[in-house]
Symmetry: C2
Subunit: 229 residues, 2 copies
Amino acid sequence: MAREAEGTLSRALVEQIVREVVTSRLADLAGDVPSRLVVQASSRHMHVSRAHLDVLFGEGYELTPERPLYQEGNYAAKETVTLVGPRGRTLQLRILGPIRRQSQIELAFTDAISLGFDNVPVRLSGDIAGTPGAHVLGPKGMVELKEGLIRAAIHVHMNPDEARDHGVEQGDVMQLRVGGDAGVVFSRVHVRIDPRARLNVHMDTDEANACALHLATEMELVTEKRGKR
Amino acid sequence: MAREAEGTLSRALVEQIVREVVTSRLADLAGDVPSRLVVQASSRHMHVSRAHLDVLFGEGYELTPERPLYQEGNYAAKETVTLVGPRGRTLQLRILGPIRRQSQIELAFTDAISLGFDNVPVRLSGDIAGTPGAHVLGPKGMVELKEGLIRAAIHVHMNPDEARDHGVEQGDVMQLRVGGDAGVVFSRVHVRIDPRARLNVHMDTDEANACALHLATEMELVTEKRGKR
């Protein structure tokens, strides 16, 4: 970049300078600066299939987005349902949209135990074969899920660029180190790579409370040596 | 050890053999074999002072031990009280005995949040200065605690021999690594040394649920390098 003459700047030169600065900032945003890590606690919730939504809320019912989630396209819906435990105790569950191929209920163990479910496994979202079922009540009807109750395994969403930056691939596990008064390292944070993803750890409320997420002063996502390829 | 005569053993020799075997076993127990690590989840509970027990249950009331705890002399009492949150919600709390110099209530964050307490700190037991207070109801009266609500910091009880074996001193922190499906490392496990202690990690229900303690297959107490002296 050259000045045309001492003390004066042509319009073309100003434009060129602006262009260079903006391009450099965009380059920072695109790759040179690591993506900001957002760590979030997911409260208990339900993902619902088309068929189950029909039963719970009525034929052809559409979910009403109430609040967008950090992962684009996902939202907390206005709609809630009632989960009935084996001893008749109940908990309210918010539905997260959009609808999915199969219904799934994600509980923290604290929730599961309070309801009397003693056999909920730790699973990745979508991997529900052989998990316990439950009864779910909506305003228009009841669904008996044959399976679908899980405690969601802690996981990190990221796009392929972020995965490359961290040296991880789909299915790897990473560590999340949370500092502060509690001080907890989550050793098995499952990597889920998607082109539309934003760098984002999802843990449940037990995990958030165990590590005192609301008081945490440092958080770091760490690639374990054995995770590198 | 010598035999007196082929095929026969005098009473004195038998006694000597028994004495040697027993001494060797005791040596194993005392130092050569590591103590068995017992990791336990503490549900929400209250420790109560003499003055508060008088108000809650009546003048001169004595706690009724229901179940001994692993640390000798401590017990879960038959007695429970009702903790009232800032928005009128309540939770039942079991009292742990024996009585203490000052009352203290230990909640998991899940409990605290469900009651509406949003400022409960992570503290070591006994360190309650400046912590939130609460109203507690017993069958004979109500106590307003000026302070005493904490989320107990995860800690390990051990005797001086076990501390020496682990290379730690009073006030150090250690790691507790919990394997299994969840996989959590607690990085700040506070060391509490007492001659009467039995090797025992106490965590709260959030921590137990976060690490899936009921499913955990491996647990290891680790002395961090910076903890060594």
